[in-house]
């Protein structure tokens, strides 16, 4: 077993461990922190896969943006020190069974499937290539999705503001009415 493999299994264990803790812990602030660790673990995985750019994007957007957003929303809504309620036992058991069944099923499928691994030159991620391909209009170019996602971000921003805005209370005195 090479060092790379050992590292992989450690990172994997870290991701899964913090993930399980994130979904089972009863204190909400701790759940968000466990989520944070899980996402950092995934970034580490990307580093291990030699996809540095993606790992950087992951840390900036997910860890630095989304988890912070989640923490803000926790502060805005509930008292973060309290313990959350446990779910119904029936629900936990059913969900656990369903999840285990689903996981086992898919893992078995994956095991059976003959993947055709790449035999050519190894994979290299250059940011230059990402940039040129993204702004390319032909030959697998992703310009259109890029523009669309920009629009989506704008729409999401405006949408969030509209949904979450607080409306002013209507004034109590009505305008003068002629009878």
């Amino acid at each position: 077993m090479s060092a790379a493999a050992i590292f992989f299994y450690l990172i994997a264990a870290f991701i899964l461990g913090t993930g399980i803790l994130a979904v089972t812990t009863r204190k909400i602030f701790r759940a968000s922190i466990w989520l944070l660790f899980s996402l950092i673990g995934i970034a580490a995985l990307y580093f291990w896969l030699k996809l540095e750019f993606l790992a950087a994007v992951q840390i900036i957007v997910y860890v630095g943006g989304i988890v912070v957003l989640i923490i803000f929303s926790i502060f805005l809504t509930i008292k973060s020190g309290d313990e959350m309620q446990k779910p119904l036992l029936v629900r936990s058991i059913f969900s656990a069974l369903a999840v285990v069944f689903g996981a086992a099923f898919i893992m078995r499928l994956l095991q059976k499937y003959p993947f055709k691994l790449n035999t050519g030159k190894p994979f290299e991620l250059k940011v230059n290539d990402i940039g040129t391909q993204m702004l390319d209009t032909k030959n697998f170019g992703y310009l259109l999705p890029f523009e669309l996602i920009s629009m989506l971000l704008l729409a999401a921003m405006i949408g969030c503001i509209v949904i979450a805005i607080k409306h002013k209370e209507p004034e109590n005195n009505l305008p003068n009415q002629t009878i």
Binding site: A4, A5, F8, L16, G19, A22, V23, T24, I28, A31, S32, L35, S38, L39, I42, L49, L51, L54, V57, V61, Y62, G65, I66, L69, I70, S73, I74, T77, I78, M84, Q85, P87, S95, A96, V99, G102, A103, M107, L110, F115, L117, N118, K121, P122, L125, D129, I130, M134, F140, P145, I149, L152, L153, A156, M157, G159, C160, I163, A164, K166
Partner: protein, 104 residues
């Protein structure tokens, strides 16, 4: 790269996905449900990059998908938080069991 077979990475992503699914089914708090959804999205990301690296080394499509998914997940998380805040204002609780207006 070839030290770890593809299937092991896929096992990891599957397990992460179903951990997220468990969290989605079980958690009573809307924000923790959102966290579980983020886990599921990340598992999909791992899947994409693993396939890209192991099967299609001359193309970059998997990476692009992952980048786009991260972006969209950010937007979606923001909208979800906005909805949760709105719901909190009307119900004064973010317990998902309190939002049962569609009950029979």
């Amino acid at each position: 790269m070839n030290e770890v077979p593809l299937t092991h990475i896929l096992f990891l992503s599957t397990a992460l996905f179903f951990i997220g699914a468990y969290g989605l089914f079980t958690r009573r708090n809307m924000i923790t449900m959102l966290m579980a959804i983020e886990l599921m999205l990340n598992s999909v990301n791992i899947n994409f990059v693993a396939f890209n690296k192991y099967l299609y080394a001359d193309k970059l499509d998997g990476i692009f998908f992952s980048i786009f998914i991260i972006t969209i997940a950010a937007a979606e998380a923001a909208v979800a938080i906005a909805i949760i805040i709105n719901l909190y204002r009307s119900h004064h609780s973010i317990d998902v069991e309190d939002a049962t207006e569609l009950k029979y």
